[in-house]
């Protein structure tokens, strides 16, 4: 059943990263569909965002990401299907679903003629927050205090983006949904936002991140869903989507000798050479054992890592574009 | 293309721009080798746009010179403009005309009526199959490629692209990266600014980093990244393992990061030795990974913004 806020708060303080079975998922989407005439923008999409995860929500332009996010937040009427946010059905209880949710969807939507601070004061007032410190804290969180009195319209893209994020954080939400948060930010700004996302997750919050910068998603996200043409293509833990758990690759001084040696170890399913890399199909938790056995047998092990695929290659393969020459590993 | 014998496609010499008291660009000196893919990086407000503006003759410098293929924009504007194609802002085209028609219209405006040249450009930017579709129906990546195509109309040797992948989806980003490589292969020098450092690292051969109007670092990518290599090690008892490694002579920087991984600043050839030491001391090493220098780390360190303790994962 649905955990109460107190239970979740307790779970949060005892365990930074919540197990998905400990509390209700942050978001449960079931068969969510949106038709515009004969065009199906979102087509029976179902996925679950585990509580405490950093969830990458990905898809090419026009895949239906924003429409799906909009339906989940009650900003767009659905054609069919359901969504539950923090345990509340958005169609029967939208106010409770949104009460602990902060979101920036599509772009930072704020008043251009008002200062950054006045915008936040207005939103805080509408949200029933009367403590002025909350506004100042939100400004500090995104490093905008120095420019808080300039109008939103005069901000650079990056500053607008940061104020939009501050607006999403204003109600101290348990669930934060950010659509392209690093758009227009310079590298330091991008890193600040990534650090902010990690901080939010470390304090037990759930973050849904939609981004086109896949190296960024790969770096921060624990879970991922990819949609294309309105349909869910894949979803799951990042490491499962990237298949990093079922094989390892080893860089060793005598690869031709290493292959038969490793083949004889227990639990190893398959060993083969890719260029000079020894690729071993085995549960990644055996990496330490294999490494020790190799060293004991006199091999020089230079590198040892779970088989890594780039999210970008996986994404482009799943959404129908060929992987880039030379930059990608083959799938076996 | 130019017959100039200059070895640099673009050369800045003590280039300076003052706006009143504020020095936007301060004695900028660097050169862009011909044939390179040159990444031009800096935080917001570092002076990138002003520098590009001076190179294109859009902003008069306060002092110093900017030379394009050896020509000074102030004394030889026509030579400069013949040799430079730039896409500085998101291109504005007629949405109801096809990509091909748009290029023909822009070509005619630029006094360029050679139809075969337009076909060449369409081919180069990889738009042959969609050239007859309306511009308004293109994806953002396709629009951007037509925009770059327009920059190529006058057959420039130097192509300047400002944030060409900003806002593009992954397929669009890749389309532009591949186009940049193709431009380089067809003899163009590409000067590109971007905030997406992973992309710059992947595609650029050279780089210049500026901060607060000043050049901070420039050179081939490999030199910029030199000395930033790290070994990332997953081990069962990271703190004890760190002590063990500190006993190895001339191994100075060993840290445990926030994810309880050992980070060792060392070149790749020391990896077997470190691995062996750890295993023989009874540690279980489950990951041993060479992390190539990250341009982002380098960039943030050089521009004095490396305040975060974030470690990148590969």
């Amino acid at each position: 059943m649905i955990a109460t806020l107190q239970e979740r708060a307790a779970a949060r303080s005892s365990n930074g990263h919540l197990q998905s079975n400990a509390v209700a998922p942050a978001i449960e989407v079931e068969e969510l569909t949106r038709r515009f005439g004969s065009f199906v923008a979102v087509d029976h999409v179902s996925f679950t965002v585990p509580s405490g995860s950093i969830f990458g929500f990905l898809g090419p332009n026009g895949a239906g990401k924003t429409t799906a996010l909009g339906m989940m937040l009650g900003l767009i009427p659905r054609s069919s299907g359901t969504a539950r946010i923090l345990g509340h059905d958005i169609h029967t209880n939208l106010p409770d679903a949104l009460a602990r949710t902060g979101a920036m969807v599509e772009k930072p939507a704020l008043y251009p003629y008002m200062s950054g601070r006045d915008n936040l004061r207005l939103w805080a007032y509408l949200a029933g927050i009367d403590d002025p410190k909350r506004v100042e804290r939100a400004l500090q969180e995104v490093d905008l205090t120095a420019r808080a009195d300039a109008t939103f319209g005069s901000y650079s893209t990056g500053m607008k983006q940061r104020l939009g994020i501050a607006t999403a954080l204003l109600r101290d939400p348990d669930l934060v949904i950010l659509d392209e948060p690093t758009n227009g930010l310079d590298p330091a700004g991008q890193r600040e936002i990534r650090a902010l996302i990690r901080r939010l997750a470390a304090s037990g919050r759930t973050v849904v991140l939609s981004s086109h910068l896949l190296y960024e998603v790969q770096e921060v996200c624990t879970d991922v869903a990819i949609i294309n043409h309105g349909k869910l293509i894949t979803t799951g833990r990042m490491q499962d989507v990237l298949h990093t758990r079922d094989s390892i690759e080893i860089q060793v001084d005598r690869p031709l000798d290493a292959v038969p040696f490793i083949e004889h170890l227990s639990d190893v399913e398959q060993v083969h050479l890719v260029d000079d890399l020894v690729v071993v199909t085995v549960d990644a938790s055996f990496a330490g054992v294999i490494n020790r056995k190799l060293i004991e047998a006199g091999f020089e092990v230079t590198g040892l890592r779970p088989r890594q695929r780039r999210l970008e290659d996986e994404f482009l393969a799943l959404t129908g574009l060929p992987a880039q020459n030379g930059a990608s590993d083959d799938t076996d | 293309m130019s017959t100039s014998s200059s070895r640099s496609a673009l050369e800045f010499d003590q280039l300076t721009k003052r706006f009143g008291e504020h020095v936007a660009v301060d004695a900028m000196t660097f050169s862009v080798p011909r044939g390179s893919i040159f990444g031009f990086l800096g935080p917001n407000g570092a002076g990138k746009t002003t520098t590009i503006g001076m190179a294109l003759g859009l902003i008069p410098p306060s002092s110093g010179t900017a030379r394009v293929l050896g020509f000074d924009i102030r004394t030889n504007p026509s030579e400069v403009l013949q040799n430079v194609g730039a896409m500085v802002e998101r291109p504005a085209f007629y949405p109801y005309l096809s990509g091909r028609m748009n290029l023909q219209v822009f070509g005619a405006q630029a006094g360029m009526d050679d139809r075969s040249r337009i076909e060449e450009i369409i081919d180069l930017v990889g738009m042959s199959e969609r050239a007859n579709a309306k511009f308004g129906g293109y994806s953002t990546g396709m629009k951007q490629r037509i925009g770059i195509g327009a920059a190529l109309l006058c057959d420039p040797e130097l192509v300047i692209l400002d944030e060409p992948t900003n806002g593009l989806d992954p397929a669009g980003q890749r389309e532009i990266r591949e186009l940049v490589r193709r431009l380089s292969e067809t003899g163009h020098t590409v000067f590109v600014s971007s905030h997406i450092l992973a992309e710059i690292q992947e595609v650029c051969s050279h780089v210049a980093i500026i901060n607060r109007g000043k050049l901070v670092s420039t050179g081939p990518m490999s030199e910029i990244l030199a000395g930033t290599d790290q070994l990332v090690i997953d081990v069962d008892r990271p703190e004890d393992a760190r002590q063990t490694l500190l006993n190895i002579p001339d191994l100075e920087k060993v840290v445990v990061d926030e994810r309880q991984r050992l980070i060792v600043d060392v070149s790749l050839d020391r990896a077997p030795e470190i691995n062996q030491t750890l295993v023989q001391s009874g540690f279980a090493v489950s990951q041993l990974r060479h992390q190539e220098g990250q341009l982002e780390e380098r960039f943030l360190a050089l521009t004095g913004q490396a305040t975060g303790s974030e470690q990148t994962n590969g």
Binding site: L110, L126, R171 | -
Partner: protein, 289 residues
Amino acid sequence: MTPISRIFIGEIWKLLKRPMTWTLAIILVVLMVLIYGTLIGTILAPDGMGVDVEVDQSMGTSLEEALILPDGLYMGIGLVQLMVTALIIVLAAGMVGSDLSWGTIRTMLMMGAGRTPILIGKILALGVLGLAGLVIGMLLSIIGSLVTAVAVGEGIQFSSWATAGFVGEAGVLLFRSMIGIMVWAAIAATITLMSRSLAAGLGASLALLFLGGQIGGLLGQLGNIGVWMGRALPNAGVDALNQLNAAIPPSYAAGDWAWILANIIGWLVLLAIAAVVTFRRMDTLAAGS
């Protein structure tokens, strides 16, 4: 859920922060000064240039008499009512249209404001601003009337107008004008909401404001059916109501009151339903892009 009171105060705050509101206020003041200046100039001009212009031929009232208090009050409210209505239409379309195009309507929804409360809060805020505009305009018109009295040498004859009856009459005029303002605000806001376009809301409402009377008149020439069609126009009820604001008002029979009230209440209900239904089914993401 955000209470309506907070949405209302938020809307007032936004309007006061918005430069457009102050531009419109300045336009109101400048127009009033220009109009009264021109009228006084006309009166003071040498003979043959307008002193004897009769405002209402049938009554034989001179411009001078019509401008000076107490009758000046009726002339003033006629001017002010039209101007403030036009300005409120601009504000209403601007308020709804920009929330849609900036996407700020989404941020309001995300902060816990309900859709119907947002509409109520907005219309209330427009009402308050409309009332403020009417009061300011009326005060300016009274000042204009007093200046006229001084200029023509009659002086400020307090006894002839500074009475409780005068204040009461002013209140009644304001109340009647407010009904019209609210109807027009609702028309502009609803058209803007339904068309998702500030320009459409503004254009259609202003066209109706300035042409509605003529259309009604043309329809009236079609005989009985035409008259009733004219009476069904959204402007007909409030136009009839505003005619009561004249120095010598028409007197309406019970049958007249019936269609006037039916028109006003009917249109308000219709507009409210249209606005609520449209907003509830609205794709607020598409509206912004």
